[in-house]
């Protein structure tokens, strides 16, 4: 036994000095050129692989069109006006569904987080509902609401409401109790505490929650548009599949990604405007 242990203990007593890469230091900065290179690689490697595979004839263009073909399809769809119309259709569905979801989830979440009574009324049911995938509600939504615009908005709503609610409740629980107590000693009543302490204190976390959850809602729009849509990016992708237009599928997916990124940036800007005091420098 000792024969096995000995070499191990000597290794611990005399660790090798240096020779550790600065690039892999835990949670530390690395030299800027190295970081910029990494960023460039993260974009160029997939793009390069795609270019090589498609132009090199490694894959059938039916399955993977060339970047040039995708760019051409993008231009074609853009100039025909379809792409703009589809993007607007999808954005407005997500916008409406998410707006409704936020308008209900924020006040309700503030109430549930603040008052134990509301917690008892809402939390058990919410715990169950949030594990039900929104996509599974599609058949029910069609039965209840039909195939029109409201059905798609309802799916976005179902898919984002419980997450918004949960995260708003959590935001309230993060408000330090001492902040509430000190407010009472400054003459505040319950109403003041709710509107002038809890509401502003939770605002940064609420905005962050909305930013995270709208990404999920945006992903869900494709599912919502599987329901008998005749416009929208999800519809366009599905339609392109029917006609084996892989290049148009690529365009659809890329645009969905870009719009998502834009929404994220817009929320970050909103955060800076509404709660500049909470912006981490």
């Amino acid at each position: 036994m000792t024969r096995v242990i000995e070499p191990v203990s000597t290794a611990i007593v005399a660790p090798e000095p240096k020779r550790r890469s600065r690039l892999l230091a835990v949670r530390a900065d690395i030299p800027r050129p190295a970081y910029v290179t990494a960023v460039a690689l993260s974009l160029l490697v997939p793009l390069g692989a795609w270019t090589a595979a498609s132009y090199g004839g490694l894959v059938d263009p039916l399955f993977m069109p060339t970047p040039g073909a995708v760019a051409a399809a993008f231009w074609r769809m853009l100039t025909s006006g379809d792409l703009v119309a589809d993007t607007l259709a999808s954005v407005s569905r997500v916008g409406l569904g998410f707006l409704l979801s936020g308008m209900l989830a924020i006040p309700l979440g503030l109430l549930v987080g603040t008052f134990k009574l509301f917690e008892g009324l809402v939390e058990p049911a919410m715990g169950l509902f949030r594990y039900m995938p929104a996509a599974a509600f599609v058949p029910l939504v069609i039965l209840w609401i039909g195939l029109d615009e409201p059905a798609k908005i309802a799916i976005i709503f179902i898919g984002s409401f419980f997450f918004n609610l949960l995260m708003v409740i959590d935001a309230v629980k993060f408000v330090p109790m001492d902040l509430v107590k000190v407010s009472y000693t400054l003459g505040a009543g319950r109403r003041d505490v709710f509107f002038r302490v809890i509401l502003p204190a939770t605002l940064p976390k609420i905005l962050d929650a909305l930013r995270v959850n709208i990404a999920a809602a945006w992903n869900l729009v494709v599912v919502a548009e599987l329901v008998a849509a005749n416009s929208g990016l999800g519809f366009r992708i599905l339609n392109a599949q029917r006609f084996l237009r892989t290049d148009e599928i690529f365009v659809g997916i890329l645009v969905i990604g870009l719009v998502g990124l834009t929404i994220d940036l817009a929320f970050k800007l909103l955060f800076r405007l509404i709660v500049p005091w909470a912006v981490e420098k």
């Binding site: 330090p176 001492d178 902040l179 107590k181 000190v182 407010s183 009472y184 000693t185 400054l186 003459g187 505040a188 003041d192 002038r196 302490v197 502003p200 204190a201 605002l203 709660v275 005091w277 909470a278």
Partner: protein
């Protein structure tokens, strides 16, 4: 008894229900704080001193007994008792001036008076230059000074302080103790402060209550006759050291190890 004290605590007890029956944290507390007096409550952790201060603030209810503020029974929290907590409790979304003004707005004071009071109390705590800064731009000591200004701006009848300097480093702590002493001498307010730092208690107060632990009872009442005009040199006087040692001995008997040895 013509001189009615600012604050009276009468036969106050507090117990919490637990699974194994009620747990008494405070038993038969009798205390008083005179007008313009600075009183400290000293006790080791777990003696219920924070609970006691919360009851005085009206944030918790006593199980028995009562608290009187200028003869009136306390029923709930109010702006007549200002409070400063150990942790930074400034509103991070308001400027320093906004924080000081918060209570005044709630109490619906006219704008001109609000502005005058904010200016006055920021000057007292030496933060006039930082009126428009956000709390996160301030150091720990400055945050506590802002919190003290905010508590004083409502001109409460008594200021309650729950280990206000407990989270500060030793150097800042001493500076703030001297600052608070000056403020107390300058403003003639009434203070009731909790601390486990005996040096702080001796330096600041005119009277000290020592609480025993589990349940908290008044073990001893100690007069600190260092004079009301004392300054930082008081720390070096023989009486200071004597009182400090006396308090340390009293508290030592309360530590769990000492209790087991009894």
């Amino acid at each position: 008894m013509t001189d009615r004290p600012a604050l009276e605590i009468r036969r106050l007890s507090k117990s919490f229900p637990t699974r194994s029956g009620p747990l008494t944290v405070l038993a038969d507390i009798d205390m008083h704080v005179g007008e313009n007096e600075f009183v400290c409550i000293v006790g080791s952790s777990g003696c219920g001193k924070s609970t006691l201060l919360n009851i005085v603030a009206g944030l918790e209810e006593p199980s028995a007994g009562e608290v009187l503020l200028r003869g009136r029974r306390i029923e709930g929290p109010g702006a007549d008792r200002g409070m400063v907590f150990q942790n930074y409790t400034l509103y991070p979304w308001l400027t320093v001036a906004g924080n000081v003004e918060f209570g005044l707005k709630i109490q619906k004071l006219p704008a001109t008076e609000r502005r005058e009071r904010v200016r006055h109390y920021l000057e007292i705590v030496g933060l006039s230059r930082f009126a428009d800064s956000l709390p996160r731009q301030l150091s720990g000591g400055m945050k506590q000074r802002a919190a003290i200004a905010r508590a004083m701006a409502s001109e409460p009848q008594i200021l309650l302080m729950d280990e206000p300097f407990g989270a500060l480093d030793a150097q800042t702590k001493q500076t703030l103790q001297e600052f608070l002493l000056e403020v107390a001498q300058k403003t003639h307010k009434t203070f009731l402060m909790i601390t486990h730092d005996v040096e702080e208690a001796v330096f600041l107060s005119e009277r000290i209550y020592v609480l025993s632990a589990r349940p908290g009872r008044v073990r001893r009442e100690l007069a600190v006759s260092l004079g009301s005009g004392r300054d930082r040199s008081a720390r070096r006087s023989p009486l200071f050291g004597q009182l400090k040692q006396e308090l340390l001995d009293l508290l030592h008997d309360e530590t769990p190890i000492a209790q087991e040895a009894r």
